[in-house]
Amino acid sequence: MNRKTLLLAILNLTLSPLFINCGATESTEGCPQLEYVGSGPIPTNFTSNQQLLSIDVIYPAYEKGEKFVFIDARPPSDYKIDHIKDAISLPFYDAERCAPSLPSNAWYVTYCACPHNESQHAAEALEKAGFKNVWVLDEGYLEWKKRGYPITPPKREIHENSTLDS
């Protein structure tokens, strides 16, 4: 092996790990199915230019059965314990991968318990994928629970079956 070949071999070996994933498309396996919280009209009060939207705007739309998707951006271990009734589980770290499996023209509200660190990350991933109508529950999931708004399983049931409820 001459010197030039040896140098090329070393260059190839050292740089190749940087290009392994080029062009690879991530699968959408395990991504959630679309589920709206209601079948009414699209929310009329989601008019803010800000991504963060108050619970006082979101809850009335939810209660009236307006047509949007609630996305629980927490890890599934938290969703499994309890979540907003009719919300789908899309953890913040899977939002980018799963965006292609969801319609970009639907209306979405993401939430977490941080109160909005993980949910904002998920919302940004969806927006990056071309979604136009994405908002974030500003006060977060704990405020939703504190107010006694609908969750699954219902709060009474959680008290009976789990010690993890706050």
Binding site: T14, L15, R74, S77, Y79, F92, N117, H121
Partner: protein, 208 residues
């Protein structure tokens, strides 16, 4: 400081120099932990998300401590359970990779914490300990260890896996480059014994 191998500098491809475990662990970290614990594990991007790559932390945290924290999370806090048996995305071998990645930031090898940090010659004085805790620790860790600007100390999962030696080490050495100072020249050994006992007592008040 992250460990870097001389040959890696020569070839200029740092990524290729880590072990496969560390590389896989980094992928998990960037996907799931970075958001709260920071780009390089410096911590506190989210309140109370501690500095995971801090050398004092890594020196005193056993692999088991890290594994339980990742697998089970800290119930009733913002730290979720990431272990698959708790409904999370990470299997046991993924968690081992994540631990290998965190360990790659450690300057020195861990050694068993010295026995002098495990036991004290004197029994703890809880009354004095509570007074000192209120004066020096409550401002950041909360009156009952519920956490404030610093992480919570009252979580049962944390207290089960954190030994007395771990707690003493944290108080004595602090966490460099964070707001947690080293108190070994500030508090007497007896005062630190008292504080450890106070922290142990927080578990019973958890969730009240």
């Amino acid at each position: 400081m992250k460990r870097v191998y001389p040959l890696c500098i020569i070839f200029g491809t740092l990524m290729a120099c880590d072990s496969p475990e560390v590389r896989r662990g980094r992928t998990h970290y960037e996907k799931m932990c970075r958001l709260c614990h920071g780009e390089d594990g410096e911590g506190y991007l989210s309140p109370r998300a501690n500095a995971l790559t801090n050398n004092e932390f890594l020196m005193s945290a056993t692999d088991e401590f890290l594994r339980v924290a990742i697998t089970e999370g800290r119930p009733k806090t913002k730290m979720s359970a990431f272990g698959s048996e708790f409904g999370g995305p990470l299997k046991n071998n993924d968690i081992s990779d994540l631990i290998a990645f965190l360990r790659s930031y450690q300057d020195n090898l861990s050694e068993p914490l010295k026995t002098q940090w495990v036991s004290s010659e004197n029994n703890p004085d809880l009354t004095s300990g509570k007074k000192l805790y209120k004066q020096e620790c409550a401002k950041c860790h909360g009156e009952l260890g519920e956490g404030d600007t610093a992480l919570s100390l009252n979580n049962p999962t944390f207290l089960i896996t954190a030994s007395d030696a771990y707690l003493r080490y944290a108080i004595e050495k602090g966490r460099s480059d964070t707001l947690m100072l080293a108190y070994e020249n500030v508090f007497t050994p007896q005062e630190i014994t008292n504080l450890v006992a106070v922290i142990r007592g927080f578990s019973s008040a958890f969730g009240d």
